[in-house]
C-alpha cells in the first residue's frame, strides 16, 4: 500500500511538473533560438532565370553552407500569384526565416503582414514594400553615379566630349535611377556630357541591339554607351559594331556584373572600360545575414545597403576570379571589405 501511495505520489508530481518542464524546455529552445541560427531559410525569387538572381542565390547558398543553414529556393517567375502561394507554402512548412524578392511591391504587402502575424522574420530583397521590417538592396542611383564618375574620368583623359546613348528600362524605377545617376556622375569630370538618346532596351540583349541600331543611325557621333544592365550595354555595343562606327573613341559602361558576359566584355572588348558592379553574391550574403539577425531578434536598419563599385579593366580582378571551368568566383575578403553607403542618395 505504502508502495502504491509512493508511486501515486510520483505520478501526481510527474503530471504536475511535466508541463512545467515542457514549457521550460520551450522557453529554453526559444531563448536558444534568439541567440542561435535558423535551421532553414526559404527564399522566393522573382526571376531565377536571370543571371543576377542566379548569383544572388549563389551568395546565399555560400553563406548558408558556411553557417550550416538549409536554404530552400523557389522561383515565382514574375508571377505574383505564384509568389504568394510559394511564400505561404514556405510559411506552412515552418521555415525559420524568409527572404523574398517581390514580383510586385503592392502585391507583397499582404505577405509582409502575414509573416508578421506568424512571427516569421522576413527580409525583402531589391524592392521596398510598405510595412516591411528590413530591405536589402543596392542603391541604384549611386551605382549609376559611380559608373558615370569613372566614365567621366576616362573621357576627360581621352579628351572626348561624351555624347551618351543610354539603354534604359523605364518600366523599372531602379533602371531609371541608374541612368539618372550615370548622367549626374559623368558630368563631374566631363561637364559637357550630353544625353543624346535614352532608349528602352527592355533589359534584353536582342531588344537593346535593335533599338540601339536605330538610335545610332540618327546619332552616329555617339561615343559613350551606358546600359542599365549588362544585356543593355552589350546589345548596344553589338549595334555599334554592326554599324561599322569608330570604336577607338568609344567608352562603354555596363551595370551589374551580373554574370560572365560583362567579365568577358571587360577582358575582350577594348571599349568596354567601366562596369558599375552590383555584386549579386554580396547581395545574397547580406540577405542571409539580415535574416539571421532578424531571427535572433536583433535591431536592424530598415534598408541595409548592399555594396556597389565601379570596376575597370584593371580592377575587376580584385573582386572576382575565373576558375578552371571558366566559372567566376567572388573574392569574398575583398568584397566584404568594400564600404557601403549608409543610405541611398535617391530612391
Amino acid at each position: 500500500m505504502k508502495k502504491g501511495k509512493f508511486f501515486l505520489m510520483l505520478m501526481v508530481i510527474g503530471l504536475i511538473i511535466s508541463p512545467a518542464l515542457v514549457f521550460a524546455g520551450g522557453e529554453t529552445d526559444s531563448a536558444a533560438g534568439s541567440s542561435d541560427l535558423p535551421k532553414k531559410i526559404g527564399y522566393v525569387t522573382n526571376y531565377a532565370t536571370h543571371e543576377w538572381y542566379q548569383n544572388v542565390i549563389k551568395g546565399m547558398q555560400d553563406r548558408c553552407d558556411e553557417l550550416g543553414i538549409e536554404l530552400e529556393v523557389l522561383d515565382a517567375n514574375l508571377d505574383m500569384a505564384k509568389e504568394v502561394a510559394m511564400v505561404e507554402d514556405l510559411m506552412a512548412r515552418g521555415v525559420d526565416a524568409l527572404i523574398v524578392t517581390p514580383v510586385d511591391a503592392a502585391g507583397t504587402v499582404a505577405l509582409v503582414k502575414k509573416a508578421k502575424m506568424e512571427g516569421i522574420p522576413m527580409v525583402l530583397e531589391g524592392n521596398r514594400v510598405d510595412g516591411m521590417e528590413v530591405l536589402v538592396a543596392i542603391c541604384d542611383y549611386d551605382a549609376g553615379y559611380k559608373g558615370g564618375l569613372e566614365t567621366g574620368k576616362i573621357a576627360a583623359k581621352m579628351g572626348i566630349s561624351p555624347k551618351v546613348l543610354a539603354v534604359d528600362l523605364p518600366a523599372l524605377n531602379a533602371c531609371v535611377l541608374r541612368v539618372d545617376g550615370f548622367m549626374d556622375g559623368i558630368k563631374v569630370n566631363a561637364p559637357d556630357a550630353v544625353l543624346v538618346h535614352r532608349v528602352d532596351g527592355k533589359g534584353s540583349k536582342d531588344e537593346a541591339l535593335q533599338v540601339s541600331t536605330d538610335a545610332l543611325t540618327q546619332d552616329s557621333d555617339i561615343n559613350v554607351i551606358y546600359g542599365c544592365n549588362d544585356n543593355s550595354s552589350l546589345g548596344a555595343y553589338q549595334a555599334f559594331k554592326a554599324a561599322g562606327l569608330n570604336e577607338d573613341e568609344l567608352i562603354i559602361c555596363g551595370t551589374g556584373l551580373e554574370g560572365l558576359a560583362a567579365v568577358y566584355a571587360l577582358q575582350e572588348i577594348p571599349a568596354y572600360m567601366v562596369e558599375a558592379a552590383m555584386l549579386p553574391e554580396k547581395n545574397g550574403l547580406t540577405c542571409v545575414d539580415a535574416a539571421v539577425s532578424l531571427y535572433r531578434g536583433e535591431e536592424l536598419p530598415e534598408h541595409i545597403v548592399s555594396a556597389t563599385i565601379a570596376l575597370t579593366k584593371d580592377t575587376w580582378e580584385n573582386l572576382y576570379g575565373i576558375d578552371a571551368d571558366g566559372k567566376r568566383y567572388p573574392k569574398w575578403d575583398a568584397i566584404n571589405a568594400l564600404e557601403t553607403e549608409a543610405q541611398c542618395t535617391k530612391y
Binding site: D206, Q210, V211, L260
Partner: protein, 326 residues
C-alpha cells in the same frame, strides 16, 4: 471585268493589296523623312533591311502556315533555343557549320512535332503551338540558365549576322535567296497550289486527293526550320546565345504577315504582301526612335496597324464577294 466596274474606287483599290501596301509604306517613309531626314540615309536603310530580313525569314514560313490554315506561336521560344544551341555547338566544336546544322535540325524536329500534334492528334494549332512555346521556353532554361558567350570568335560566325556580300548585308542576301525560292514554291508548284487549297477548304482538299496531314506537317517543318535559321542570325548579331531572347517575336512576325494581307482563316496570302507588311512595321518602329517619340508608341501603332489590316482584309473579302454574286 463587267462585275469589277460595280465596285467603288476604294473597293477597287483594295483589290490591289500589294500596291496599297506599297503606297502606305511610301507615305510613312515620306512622313518620317520630313521629321528626320536621316531616315533615308544609306546606313539607316541598310539597318532597316537587315533587321527586316531576320523577321522576314521567319515570316516566309509563317505565311505558308497561315495560307494552309495553321499558325505557330512557338517561334519566339524556338528562336531563343536556337541562339543558345547555335552558340553552344559552335563553342564545343569550334565549327560554324556544325552549329548551323544543329540549329536547322532542331528547327526541323520542333516543326515535325508541331505538325504531328496539329494534324495527326487534331490539336488546334493555336493550343498546340502555345504548348510547344512553353515546352521550348522551359527547355532552354534547363539547357542553360545563363547566356552563352562566344569563345572562339570565328570570322564566319560574326559575318553570318553582321557581314556583307559586296554592299549587301549577309542576312539580306540570305533572305533574298530564300524569298525567291519560296516564292516559286508557293506560286509555281503543285505544293503551293495544294497549300492554298488546304487552307481554303481542308475537307474539299482532302476529298480531291490532297494528303492534307502530310502537307501540313511539311509546312510546319519548313516554317520552324526557317525560324531556327532566323535565330542563328540573331545569335550571330548578338554575339551570344540568350535564353531570354525572342520574347514576343512570334507576334511581330504574325503582325507583319497579317498586315501583308494573309488571312488568318487560311487560303489567302502572298509573300510580296508579307515583305511589305514586315517593312511597314519595321519602318514605323524605326521612325518612332528616329523622331525620339515615346517608344511605347511602337506597341500602340502595331496594335492599330493590325486592326486596320484585318479591317481592310474584311472589306476586300466583301468586295470579292460582290464581284462573284453580281
Amino acid at each position: 471585268m463587267e462585275n469589277e466596274k460595280k465596285l467603288n474606287l476604294g473597293e477597287r483599290l483594295l483589290m490591289f493589296n500589294e500596291l496599297l501596301l506599297l503606297g502606305v509604306l511610301i507615305v510613312i517613309a515620306l512622313l518620317i523623312t520630313i521629321g528626320e531626314p536621316k531616315f533615308i540615309s544609306i546606313l539607316n536603310l541598310k539597318n532597316i533591311i537587315r533587321d527586316s530580313s531576320q523577321i522576314l525569314i521567319a515570316g516566309i514560313g509563317m505565311t505558308m502556315l497561315l495560307i494552309a490554315g495553321d499558325v505557330d506561336l512557338s517561334i519566339g521560344s524556338l528562336i531563343a533555343f536556337s541562339t543558345v544551341v547555335f552558340m553552344d555547338v559552335v563553342n564545343k566544336t569550334n565549327n560554324f557549320w556544325f552549329g548551323l546544322l544543329a540549329v536547322l535540325a532542331l528547327g526541323a524536329f520542333v516543326g515535325l512535332i508541331n505538325g504531328i500534334v496539329v494534324s495527326k492528334f487534331k490539336v488546334n494549332a493555336l493550343i498546340g503551338t502555345i504548348a510547344m512555346m512553353m515546352i521550348l521556353r522551359g527547355s532552354v532554361y534547363l539547357y542553360s540558365m545563363a547566356s552563352i558567350q562566344n569563345f572562339h570568335h570565328l570570322d564566319i560566325f560574326t559575318a553570318f549576322g553582321n557581314g556583307y556580300f559586296g554592299p549587301f548585308p549577309v542576312p539580306v542576301v540570305l533572305m533574298v535567296v530564300l524569298f525567291a525560292g519560296f516564292y516559286i514554291v508557293i506560286n509555281k508548284t503543285v505544293f503551293g497550289r495544294r497549300l492554298y487549297a488546304t487552307g481554303g477548304n481542308m475537307k474539299a482538299a482532302r476529298i480531291s486527293g490532297i494528303r492534307t496531314s502530310k502537307l501540313r506537317i511539311q509546312t510546319f517543318v519548313m516554317s520552324s526550320t526557317l525560324a531556327a535559321l532566323s535565330g542563328a542570325i540573331l545569335c550571330s548579331r548578338m554575339n551570344s546565345g540568350q535564353p531570354n531572347s525572342g520574347n514576343g517575336y512570334e507576334l511581330t512576325v504574325i503582325a507583319g504577315v497579317i498586315l501583308g494581307g494573309t488571312s488568318l482563316e487560311g487560303g489567302k496570302g502572298t509573300l510580296i504582301g508579307t515583305l511589305l507588311g514586315v517593312l511597314i512595321m519595321r519602318v514605323i518602329n524605326n521612325g518612332i526612335i528616329l523622331l525620339q517619340w515615346n517608344q511605347d508608341l511602337q506597341i500602340v501603332f502595331s496594335g492599330f496597324v493590325i486592326i486596320l489590316a484585318v479591317f481592310l482584309d474584311n472589306k476586300r473579302q466583301a468586295a470579292k464577294a460582290k464581284i462573284i454574286t453580281t
